[in-house]
Symmetry: none
Subunit: 210 residues, 4 copies
């Protein structure tokens, strides 16, 4: 068949797999479940994928691609402060989408899978590194402008920023009740240093006097 047909079938299967994985997890999902949800026969998936693991890997890689596409759009040319807001916004775009909680649960599975799969693991690390590099670059620019403490390690700061996104995913996946708007607000305050009231400024300047 045509290349397009094959691609369409693959996506159809991956989509079915996603639904099943969400419902039951990777290892509790049978190939037959996937086939049934995809409206195909038991043997059909094997025309488009090597094995069940291959489907899992494809689904993971597809999920990671999605992430990469989303987070890969951070604009390095923007000013540091608005960039932090962009980080927040980019994240929130995902967190506000319908089914975001399901996506979170699936993401958790992908992360877990990456722990045991070399390929998925490598892809995930590449993903994380891409985002971290972007954010770190922004931090450096801010440091160059004298806005951020030069003693701080840009990659490490970037990792804390990334954690604010990842941690939300974890909590939502775990079923913690998160009010995304408020979480966003708190994140923004944290990331832009507005958490603390100016009137309490002296207190926080103990170790960093002006």
């Amino acid at each position: 068949m045509t290349e397009a047909h094959i691609e369409a079938r693959r996506n159809q299967i991956i989509e079915a797999a996603r639904a099943c994985f969400l419902e039951r997890g990777f290892h509790a999902t049978k190939i037959q479940d996937i086939a049934k949800v995809a409206g195909l026969s038991t043997g059909a998936p094997y025309r488009y994928f090597e094995s069940k693991d291959d489907i899992v890997a494809a689904m993971c890689s597809e999920a990671l691609d999605r992430h990469r596409r989303r987070f890969g759009t951070l604009d390095l040319a923007a000013t540091s402060r608005s960039i932090f807001e962009e980080l927040s916004t980019v994240y929130l775009a995902a967190a506000h989408e319908p089914g975001a909680k399901d996506t979170a649960r699936l993401t958790l599975q992908v992360w877990e899978e990456s722990t045991h799969s070399d390929n998925t693991g490598e892809a995930l690390r590449a993903d994380f590194n891409l985002i971290q590099t972007h954010v770190a670059e922004i931090v450096k620019q801010a440091q160059a402008r004298g806005e951020i403490d030069n003693n701080l390690d840009p990659p490490s700061v970037a990792q804390t920023m990334v954690s604010l996104v990842l941690g939300l995913i974890v909590q939502r996946a775990a079923g913690v009740a998160v009010e995304v708007d408020k979480y966003e607000e708190a994140t923004r305050s944290l990331v832009t240093g507005k958490l603390w009231n100016a009137t309490a400024g002296e207190k926080q300047s103990t170790t960093n006097p002006t």
Copy 2:
């Protein structure tokens, strides 16, 4: 035999299971693997556990208990600022321990498992809620003292703090190279509002002019 013996055997098996799960993950671990690592025969685990799932659940619950014990010690009577440091310290105590990266990988599995298991899921939510409640309480105290913006929702702020811990676990589990000391430093700056230089104070004071 004695209650103590039974408990010892259960722990021995859970410990073996932990090692196997870390090595291969839940579903790739065979009961025989666990038995072998525990130095027992194939059927022995079934004297102490109902089934493989029971072992998984026990191992998860044990891991969550450990977390709860660790994070349940936050001192609500302390001042807000030192409390943030305590949060950091409590977390860092875990992140600096040998095998912390392994623990992170295991934690990811527990989280994933909780997505499909009612019991583990409930325990995990209880865990997260406990921490969140503690941190939120601290935030409220800081707000009462006028240190933190009263417009922010304490639970949401707490969730961002928790994310800084969870996100680190995710990144380490994923194999991202994290320098824990520097991550700690960045976290501290973020949480205590010291990320931004005082000289850049005007910029962050948009909503809170001095």
Copy 3:
């Protein structure tokens, strides 16, 4: 596949199971034995049956159906005397068939199984009750015609008639050498009151003097 195909496979498996059960008994028969005898692979039976117990139950139920079909044909409209002969005949039809002794052994297993299985037990009781009801009805008709002692309880008389059939099954299953023709002749004499010579009539007429 088609409904017919499924039914055919089920019968094929039940038939194989019957052979195995006969050879080794229920509990000594492995699923693999059944599969092998049926010319199938290890897992095949599970497409058509829930479990080994399900196969046993199906086989029992099939055996009981067979009985019911055979004994359910008694003709209530016939006269009492020829009915007893019909009972004998119906029974003998089964006892004379090739493999009747094997069937007897299998029947013993079904009875035994019914002692522990609610479903099979219920089916067996229904089976016995059906026959008993038929025979009892015949007895009543004979009593109405004044042929049989009205003091006798029809169901109980029916049970003794049934015993003449069941007892033969037991003895043959146990390996007792039974000459079916002669057993039939003795049964007929017993059931039709011809056991005793007319010349000895006075002796048996203690309670029923001519």
Copy 4:
């Protein structure tokens, strides 16, 4: 220990086994069940029996001994008619005892077991043959006195008599509601030729005219 002690322990175990077998059947009964019911440790039965099969065999043989003792008492010297009554009486003594229905269920298991076990099978056949021989002898005596049709085969007649006993066991084991007194009455009528009313005498004499 003393011979008596060993015998006592064996009986204790056999008794426990009987209770378990009755509850669950042979193959569903675990050695540990038997040990528990007997108030012994898991390993204890192995001091007194070779294996589980050995316990089953012992229990069967014990049950058969009991039967043999009961039915072996038939008095060959008595007159034929009272002998049939004795047969009935001997049987009824067993059927009227408390727990007779349980005994019947267990007997069914023994019969079934005898189908697969050479030893038990041989013992059962010996049992049946003993009874049959006794009854056949009585029949012969009656024939010699001209009371019973000389054309009938004594062993076959005996087998029908035995069936009246075995069939009751089957029906009771199967859970059919049997009123033993009435069954006895019907049996007596059947065996002593009193089933048919004398007034219907002509009808039954079709083939045996005086």
